[in-house]
């Protein structure tokens, strides 16, 4: 599927949680020089900086990406959080992480009640095949998450320029 989760199925819940735990381990291709890429520690640190000790719960939001990126230079991304955006329950911030890139954070969007709908569409750069992660900080302090895997054949960011 296109990374659209089925949060109600137990196997999907377990796999997402496991995937998030395993985010800190073994994301890197051994062939690439280590200093070029975000290390698992850097990814964890970036997440921790934003959500502290809170454990993200998969579900309640959708991260949409193509399954295959025609080019890593520009990939359409949409993230939508299921929230009526009321004073009592709304999205404060949405974070997009790109653990396979040289820098693990792509962007943070600050919403609030005046947003009306917690949905963002944009274009991101991906250096290589990876699992993109989106986190939503809710007004009640909870953190939701969704992730989407994408295959990138022509990477961005670190490809060498050899001609114009």
């Amino acid at each position: 599927m296109n990374g659209i989760p089925s949060p109600t199925t137990p196997s999907a819940l377990i796999s997402r949680r496991t995937m998030l735990r395993q985010l800190g381990a073994g994301l890197l291709l051994a062939l690439w020089p280590a200093d070029r890429w975000a290390t698992p520690e850097a990814v964890q640190q970036a997440i921790h900086q934003r959500i502290g000790e809170r454990e993200p719960q998969p579900g309640g939001m959708t991260l949409t990406l193509p399954k295959i990126a025609e080019t890593g230079n520009s990939v359409p991304l949409t993230v939508a959080v299921d929230s009526l955006m009321t004073p009592g329950d709304h999205v404060l911030r949405i974070h997009v992480f790109v653990p396979g890139n040289p820098e693990p954070v792509a962007s943070t969007y600050h919403l609030g009640i005046r947003a009306g709908r917690a949905q963002i569409s944009t274009q991101i750069r991906l250096a290589r095949t990876q699992t993109v992660l989106a986190l939503a900080e809710m007004s009640d302090g909870s953190v939701r998450s969704d992730a989407a895997s994408i295959v990138v054949t022509l990477g961005a960011c670190v490809d060498e320029l050899w001609s114009d």
């Binding site: 599927m1 399954k67 025609e70 080019t71 359409p76 001609s163 114009d164």
Partner: protein, 296 residues
């Protein structure tokens, strides 16, 4: 047969807009009774998955076997090209629109002073360039025509090659012909230049000793690493190219291609490139102008 495949493929894509195919779950009961339909759809989807897009033969992007670069794009990038807001090439169209109205040069006139509303006066122009110019005695392309107008009519300095302003103007003028078929003249006085362009297309060059024809005629539809090689049609130029992360002209593309086979590129605006530009336009005759197109 081809349309049946496409119709079937369209049907299967329509279910929720995602990639899963529901045909074997009996969205319509009769599919279970017609395994041949399933087989045809599998072939169609398999071909699409392998990058060989099953283009409806009536599609405007495929004319007598001449295939636009649009057909090699992923769905999301085709959508991006068609998006009347988000196509990044439109940033240059807007800039061109501004420049069109701006007085420039000693004569203090703008393009609009002579040509009025570009949507009327420039409609169809892009489909006819490059063209033979009697005063020059050779071909002239759109960029050169723009600069000639600037010099002779506006007493304004020429826009530099591949500059933001020249790209903006050619894109703005080009897009006034969007959807119209490429229709260049190759007969009469244009013919020797057309023949020179054709010779260029088939001429081996560079360290790799390859001609344009090797990739764009002999090896089209085959893979070059992660890419499917296209016919190299030029009906979308200037294009927003992801590799460049910006908009670029067809001569920039020729430079890039020549460098790719480790050949010394010719200068933009050179006779060699204008001649091949005409040949390439003729190769894509009948394809619609897509300026500004999205390409990889």
């Amino acid at each position: 047969m081809l349309s049946a495949e496409c119709a079937a493929e369209e049907f299967s894509r329509g279910a929720g807009g995602d990639q899963t195919v529901g045909w074997n779950r009996g969205l319509h009961g009769h599919e279970r009774r017609f395994p041949w339909l399933v087989a045809i759809m599998s072939i169609g989807i398999g071909c699409a998955g392998a990058g060989l897009l099953t283009v409806d033969e009536h599609s405007r992007y495929l004319v007598d076997g001449r295939r636009s670069g649009y057909t090699y794009l992923s769905e999301e990038n085709q959508r991006l090209q068609d998006d009347d807001f988000a196509n990044p090439g439109l940033l240059w169209v807007e800039r061109g629109r501004e420049l069109w109205r701006q007085a420039d040069g000693a004569a203090a006139t703008s393009c609009a002073s002579c040509h009025g509303d570009a949507a009327d006066s420039m409609r169809g122009v892009r489909t006819r360039y490059p063209r033979f110019d009697p005063t020059l005695g050779k071909l002239i392309n759109l960029e050169q025509q723009i600069n000639r107008c600037r010099a002779e009519r506006m007493q304004a300095p020429p826009y530099p090659s591949e500059s933001e302003v020249l790209l903006a103007m050619t894109t703005f003028i080009g897009t006034q012909s969007r959807g119209l078929p490429i229709d260049v003249r190759i007969d009469g006085p244009a013919q020797p230049f057309f023949e020179a362009g054709k010779a260029f297309f088939y001429q081996r060059r560079g360290q790799l000793d390859m001609a344009c024809a090797h990739c764009h005629e002999q090896y089209t539809e085959q893979r070059l690493r992660g890419d499917v090689i296209s016919q190299g049609q030029t009906n979308g130029f200037p294009v927003y190219r992801f590799t460049w992360q910006t908009l670029g002209s067809v001569h920039r593309m020729f430079e890039w291609c020549n460098t790719s086979v480790r050949a010394e590129p010719y200068p933009q605006g050179s006779d060699e490139y204008i001649n091949i530009e005409l040949y390439m336009a003729w190769r894509g005759r009948g394809l619609p102008v897509e300026t500004p197109a999205i390409r990889r």
